[in-house]
Amino acid sequence: MDRWRALVWRFLFHRGKLAAVSALVQLVGVSKTFGDAAAVHAIDLSVERGKTTVLIGPSGCGKSTLLRLIIGLLQPDSGQIQFDGTQLRADKIDIVRRHVGYVIQEGGLFPHLTARGNILLMARHLGRPKNEMLARLSELCALTRFPENLLGRYPLELSGGQRQRVSLMRALMLSPELLLLDEPLGALDPLVRAALQKDLKEIFARLRQTALLVTHDLAEAAYLGDEIVLVNEGRIVQQGSLADLREKPASSFVSEFINAQRSLAVI
């Protein structure tokens, strides 16, 4: 029944676009209110398989809240979140989480575990064979260009950029279907940031990774994103490529947002 209703919704609201069929995550009319302030307001959003979707918008517009709703850290007040066509259920959320990688700005690494301990934490919890885990670890080090000899270090012994590489490895360890990244490069200096942007793009391409990325930086969004979703005050204002946003702004806010960034950045 739910499936049917979802299909009807898709048909009605997405006009039967082919893209809707390949959506890995689908938000339908999702709202979340803290106290009396709506952080997210009736949002419909599809995260397409194999693509990088970028959420961008001013501070406090609800980007992180959306990510936290998708990974079940928050429950929506209304609306549906579907993963691979099925509705998220509270009792199944841990299984879904194993198919989702989550990277946050400060890395979220556990200080009492080494880089290796952090990356392998979940695989060990699931009792994965040791050989398999070590092979995957070397693979990830190569992929993220992280020196293997630093794996024994604790987070406090690593630089910010190295920490984000470890955090990315931890998120990728179980080959997740979806990667959620909440301003992963936000706290890095421009040079390290540029290097990591390049690496992320390569990694996403090589893995055909489905990713939902939050950033403040329009240049980063344009560089990494297949689809840019501009959010303001808990609502999606416009969705499309940077060119769409620039050439066919849906509102004066879109132009303002783009112009404000252009005056600072190098696009």
């Binding site: 850290l73 989480r97 989550y102 200080p111 575990l113 060990r124």
Partner: protein
């Protein structure tokens, strides 16, 4: 589930378990046995009488243990009634007033009858009457021309330094003041032994004493005559449980009528001079009979009684550590789970922290006194451990709770987002991250426990408080230091032991 190569948690948890159980093996060494348990109150004469009873029983081939200086009348009476001790020396006046709670004077037979109803027997009087008395420095009394208690009426400016027990007793200060219509301006409560010092220095003028107190002749004091017969008779007797084997009762009865005032005063003086109650008690046997039976017994007795100082110190310290370690172990095992609950906040969390906080505000002495009358506890090591355990709880509960609450939200959420189960999050993430705070709480508890364990001697649980108490009783600084110095050293050692444990137990990543 397969557990492969998972050092993080298991190692950490394993270490805690191992370290926290070590003290457990040290305990349970103090076992109850068929020994006759002799109690005594916290003053010299009671100690000496206790030793005399012990020696008497031992000589009669009955194994006996003397638990010295367990406290005041009610504590000993309750202990006797509940079977935690079998025998203790008491005085007829105290029995009438404090135990039977009668304001009229009873005959000896009436007292024996009343006690019989509680299953307690009483020997005939041992031979001396140790009544309460008011004493003054001989010089001061002479100066003011005081001879009787009635004379005090004309000197309301005199300072009275009275023991707390005397101040509270039904046959103590208040009725005495009424009887003689005394109305002094200045009455303070002071420890018995310290009171003698205060008399000597002139900071008090009048104090209460026992009429056989060795201090009276030692300090050149005079007893003010009880000219209006206020103080009842305080004839010394032994109280014993009817359940005691007949040979033991017979042995005790041999002491009846054998200790006169002069002799008791001499034994008390000997005890205070030599700081050795056993030796004073032995003096009784040497004086009273040259029989071969006693002489033979003497050799046996001196083995157990004549303990060398290092041996005594080792015994005190071992017991002290047992008390502190076992109670700490309990605090850890109970406190950490409570702290975990408390960290989740809500009504239960607040209730837990509130309860632990309230326990901490009860003075330790009062807590001991509150536990003693409870069925399971009484005068025992158990009570001391229970009190110390309760004291040790708050720092551990509070530090566990705050340690867990201080974990940044981003890290909590990362652990959830990874898909770790709640148990795995607790063991692998939350507890290790809070370990520094938890260990700091345990360290605080340990140091508190080592300090507070000195009070355990008050209820006969032994430890380094034993020499401190008897030193206080004898007003002998050297004896006090014999307990106080090792206790202080112990606290420092415990502190540094935990500093070392920090390095083992706190994950390296948190110490950078």
């Amino acid at each position: 589930m397969r557990r492969i190569w998972n050092p993080g948690v298991q190692e950490w948890f394993g270490r805690i378990l191992i370290f926290s159980w070590i003290p457990g093996f040290l305990i349970f060494s103090a076992s109850a046995s068929e020994q006759v348990q002799i109690g005594s109150k916290k003053f010299t004469e009671s100690y000496v009488l206790g030793e005399i009873a012990k020696r008497t029983l031992t000589d009669a081939g009955i194994s006996a243990e003397h638990r010295q200086g367990m406290g005041g009348t009610i504590i000993l009476w309750e202990a006797l009634r509940s079977g935690q001790i079998d025998v203790y020396p008491e005085y007829t006046g105290t029995i009438t007033q404090e135990i039977l709670k009668r304001s009229d004077e009873l005959t000896f037979e009436q007292i024996a009858n009343e006690l019989g109803k509680a299953g307690i027997g009483m020997t005939e009087p041992l031979g001396f009457n140790n009544t309460y008395a008011l004493v003054m420095l001989r010089s001061r009394a002479g100066e003011l021309g005081l001879h009787t208690i009635t004379d005090l009426k004309n000197h309301p400016e005199l300072k009275f330094g009275l023991t707390h027990e005397f101040l509270d007793r039904q046959d103590g200060w208040r009725p005495l003041a009424q009887h003689y219509q005394l109305n002094p301006q200045n009455v303070i409560g002071i420890d018995h032994a310290l009171g003698y010092g205060a008399l000597g220095k002139g900071s008090v003028d009048v104090k209460d004493a026992y009429s056989t107190d060795a201090k009276i002749s030692e300090n050149d004091l005079v007893v003010l005559e009880d000219d209006r017969q206020f103080f009842p008779q305080y004839k010394a007797v032994f109280l014993f449980r009817y359940a005691l084997p007949t040979p033991a009762i017979e042995a005790l009865r041999k002491l009846e009528g054998t200790i006169k005032e002069a002799k008791m005063t001499r034994l008390n003086a000997e005890a205070e001079r030599t700081k050795n109650y056993t030796r004073a008690a032995n003096l009784y046997f040497e004086d009273s009979s040259g029989s071969t039976r006693l002489r033979q017994g003497y050799g046996v007795a001196s083995n157990t009684f004549g303990e060398t100082f290092p041996h005594k110190l080792a015994r005190w310290t071992a017991r002290h550590l047992e008390l502190a370690a076992f109670s700490l172990l309990l605090s850890v095992l109970v406190g950490i789970p409570l702290g975990i609950f408390a960290s989740r906040g809500g009504a239960i969390g607040h209730a837990i922290l509130g309860f632990a906080g309230i326990v901490q505000t009860i003075p330790s002495l009062a807590l001991l006194a509150l536990l003693v009358p409870l069925p399971f506890f009484g005068i025992s090591v158990r009570t001391a451990i229970a009190a110390l355990f309760l004291y040790g709880l708050l720092p551990i509960v509070r530090n566990t709770a705050t340690g867990l609450q201080d974990i940044p939200r981003a890290l909590r959420e990362s652990a959830i987002a990874l898909g770790l189960s709640p148990a795995a999050r607790l063991w692998q993430i939350h507890l290790p991250m809070a370990s520094r705070s938890i260990l700091a709480g345990i360290k605080t508890s340990a140091v508190i426990n080592v300090g507070t364990a000195t009070l355990a001697a008050l209820i006969g649980a032994g430890g380094l408080g034993e020499p401190i108490l008897s030193g206080l009783n004898l007003n002998d600084h050297a004896t006090i230091l014999q307990g106080a110095i090792p206790a202080a050293i112990l606290a420092l050692l415990v502190q540094s032991l935990f500093d070392l444990l920090d390095r083992v137990l706190i994950p390296k990543g948190l110490r950078l």
